[in-house]
Symmetry: C2
DNA sequence: TCAATTGTTCAATGAATTTTGAACAAAGGA
DNA sequence: TCCTTTGTTCAAAATTCATTGAACAATTGA
């Protein structure tokens, strides 16, 4: 129903986006969103990436930088990647970051957050 | 002559790289290095992006994250982009970031540092 | 109405970041 | 040997960032 405040497409700032993605928790959130593109996820889906309070903080950062869209539905927040806007503003950027993120660093496995 | 300490190619960390590029001064340095690929630049070339001391700080950050290579020659430091290593570890990432950085944000011009 | 679910906000804390000027060091040229 | 050029290191200060627990708010279901 209610879309939480977010920057418009032409307000998207590269340094701000890179900065917000320069954090392993937030990178994990974005990678998970990308693996589930189409289905909006609620905050609770990310609970193994941080505490409830901490996720609220990181998810707000992502939304304020324009990486994610957050819609309030009931007591839930439905979160999606702003792929269209990001692709329009910075073509190819998101995909190359996601591709890099999926290269398992040093043979480690990236576990999926709770489903 | 002497190559300053830097992470090896497989030590390159995506979050660390994005984090270090999430700063407009450092992004400006990297964009300028890319526009001059081939010719190593010394710190002084970047003087309009910050003070001498401040640049020393930012250039160290870039080197420690593995984005740049720094070679000490005399009293100078010759700085280059680690394009080969970055491309090998994260194919396409650097180019998409550079392409995004070259989209003038909001019609602004990016002035070249002093030559 | 009551209780549970889902998240946010707040204050506090500790850590990391950015910036500055002063002092320093190393190399090169006059 | 001096002086200049090129950068680094250090300490200090200001700011921002990440994390936590407690309290709160809103919605939903029994």
């Amino acid at each position: 129903m209610a879309l939480l405040p977010q920057p418009s497409t032409d307000q998207l700032d590269l340094a701000a986006i890179l900065g917000v993605l320069g954090d392993s928790t937030r990178l994990g959130i974005v990678a998970y969103l990308a693996r589930n593109e189409g289905k909006p996820l609620s905050c609770g889906q990310f609970l193994d990436l941080g505490s409830k309070t901490n996720l609220s903080y990181h998810l707000a950062k992502l939304r304020e930088a324009g990486v994610t869209r957050t819609e309030a539905v009931g007591t839930s927040r439905l979160i999606t990647l702003r792929r269209d806007d990001l692709d329009r503003r910075f073509p190819g950027l998101l995909d190359s970051i996601l591709a890099s993120a999926n290269l398992r660093p040093l043979g480690q496995t990236v576990p999926d957050p709770v489903s």
